[in-house]
């Protein structure tokens, strides 16, 4: 068993994902370099990966969010950028975690639309979404129609 020496101890890594018609990852990277004070910023196809001290990263991502608040999404990441245990260049193929983000990117346009609409509407007036824990059972009339259609 070999000894494990962690790197970048005490740092925090965050994804800054942009899904916008007006802002590209490179625009965001330039803005990030303007406001950063030595934090590591890596530009990716979907946005940025920012690594540094927690206060510095929070300050940078807060500034980046102001660029396009409804189309920029931020989340924590456990690994620093380029970590060989996760980087697709080392492992080959899509990196672990990519597929989850790929799925959520298909939903993000609806979330962005929701954020834009809530600037114009009061959240209290928006009806609640359907309760996913309530399962409506098939009513007897529909069941009879299905049976009849199958028999004929």
């Amino acid at each position: 068993m070999t000894e494990y020496k962690p790197v970048l101890v005490g740092t925090v890594t965050k994804y800054v994902v942009v899904e916008s018609f007006e802002i590209t990852p490179s625009d965001l990277a330039i803005r990030g370099y303007e406001v950063s004070n030595g934090a590591m910023i890596k530009e990716t196809c979907f946005g940025l990966v920012v690594t540094g001290k927690p206060d510095e990263v929070d300050r940078i991502v807060t500034e980046l969010r102001k660029v396009d608040p409804d189309h920029i999404f931020i989340k924590d990441r456990g690994f620093p950028p380029g970590d060989p245990r996760r980087c697709r260049a080392n492992l080959g193929g899509a990196r672990p975690g990519y597929h989850g983000m790929e799925f959520e990117m298909t939903v993000i346009p609806y979330i962005s639309h929701g954020l834009e609409e809530l600037k114009k509407r009061d959240a209290a007036t928006v009806p609640a979404p359907a309760d996913p824990l309530v399962h409506e059972s098939l009513d007897i009339t529909s069941l009879k129609k299905l049976i009849d259609a199958q028999e004929s």
Partner: protein, 148 residues
């Protein structure tokens, strides 16, 4: 500022919406970061050691597979410290092996058993559902109070 457990724990959308409204999302990244930044013995890729299934005994019995107990060693402490939870019920991205599938069921069970405010949702499939989704999360998080 409340600690909100998000399910799926790797969700970008939930993590962003929770932090955007001034609360702290408890996601899997938090637990992973803690492990990979702690010195010890080499155990790639996530620094999950044989000690983790033993820690997982707090949430799952010894006959439960070690994959579930090891995963619960990551999520169990976060479930213990969370003050609220947002659960997405049709999360296809949470699909995985039986270890992940059973762990996901156990996580949802423990969250529902805990006496904390919970919000159950499905992913939106159109723009109107997107508005309702964001509004429901906003109302839920505002009611938690203590936001920045």
């Amino acid at each position: 500022m409340a600690k909100v457990f998000i399910y799926p724990a790797t969700s970008l959308i939930l993590s962003d919406l929770v932090s955007r409204h001034g609360h702290t999302p408890l996601s899997s990244a938090v637990a992973i970061r803690e492990r990979i930044q702690t010195a010890g013995l080499e155990s790639p890729p996530l620094q999950i050691t044989p000690e983790e299934p033993k820690k997982g005994l707090k949430w799952a019995a010894v006959e439960v597979p070690s994959g579930v107990r090891g995963r619960m060693a990551l999520y169990g402490p976060m479930i213990g410290e969370c003050e609220a939870a947002i659960i997405i019920n049709d999360a296809d991205l949470a699909f995985g092996c039986m270890g992940c599938a059973r762990t996901n069921e156990l996580i949802k069970f423990l969250l529902r058993q805990k006496d904390i405010p919970k919000l159950d949702l499905n992913y939106p499939k159109n723009e109107e559902e997107g508005v309702r989704f964001v509004a429901a999360i906003k109302r839920f998080l505002d009611e938690l109070g203590g936001k920045r």
